[in-house]
Point group: C2
Chain length 185, copies 2
Amino acid sequence: MAERVLRADARRNRERVLEAARRAFAEQGYAVPLDEIAAAAGVGPGTVYRHFPTKEALFEAVSVANVQDLAADARSRAEAADPGLALDGFLDRVAEQALAKRDLPDAFAGAGADAMAAARDEMRDALAALLGKAQEAGAARRDVSVTDLIALLKGLLYAVRTDPDPDIRHRLLAVVRDGLRPKEG
Amino acid sequence: MAERVLRADARRNRERVLEAARRAFAEQGYAVPLDEIAAAAGVGPGTVYRHFPTKEALFEAVSVANVQDLAADARSRAEAADPGLALDGFLDRVAEQALAKRDLPDAFAGAGADAMAAARDEMRDALAALLGKAQEAGAARRDVSVTDLIALLKGLLYAVRTDPDPDIRHRLLAVVRDGLRPKEG
DNA sequence: GACGATACGGAACGCCCGCCCCGGTTAGCA
DNA sequence: TGCTAACCGGGGCGGGCGTTCCGTATCGTC
């Protein structure tokens, strides 16, 4: 891993491509043609391929960034005073993102390469902390695991994405939130 | 709408194509090549196009059938003695189907033609009955609508589909089920 | 300011897949 | 059993998209 130094224009273009891809994937999902991403970045398709060996690699780079963002958010919320509220807030944030990011569910599903696996682990850890504290505080039932929570998030993302009405979103969140509460007794 | 009478072999082939499409879409989603469906049906691609003007039309025919099946199930459960259990049972059934039917979420999402709209309405009515009875019986919170329930089902389908572990499925169901219960108070 | 290395752009290639067409076959009827 | 209309099969066309290639432009250095 020699980490060759990029020329200034190369680095700039790489950034533009990433930004354009982020936007394009978020709006249209993986189906967006690569040429369109290139055009949006003000760049030829060839340039995209210089920086990312394949379309999937580009998508993965974007996905990793998205998941990392979410993980960072979860991490910071885990510090909050009220773990129950923190968990709720995180759910809210996830649902909100779903509107803008058609690709997020796919990002979670990505079986792919090392970087993605690392991001997934990062996410798992952050969620484990968040969920664990909520459970200790009696704000979340103990029979759900981090894996369950991730599955729940994926479903939430998908549901919100296909039904963008904010009222529905709030009600879905309410159901999930209450479903995560411990049963009394 | 003259409803021309089909020759015996034509009717048989139509049925084969539908069955093959049902299976293929269920296993691989909409992305499955049409030639593959034709091959599975023991038929040439041309024959598929004689019966369905386009690939999307074929998919829609399959989706309508799926939604109708589900609606029929919901309708019959609405008659049950315990509305709460009936609703739970239906959720369970939906989650179970998700494993075998990758295309179901898309089916719900289908904005398309008349037949689909009709099937959707059928589904709405059936769910309205099921949910309404559960609410009257105090087994479901009153602040969720049929639309919310459908969104929930879509999410559930997606989540279960991408994480086929039966244990996770049961836990997700538990969360959703408990989330649908009325809050005590 | 000139030179080599690096990066760029976009035309072109090949593949996949939805869809059409036509020569051959089969069903239904008298 | 023979005739006609309906139907079948699969080869082939066309467009879209991922990917590659190479002549040209730009960067960074001496």
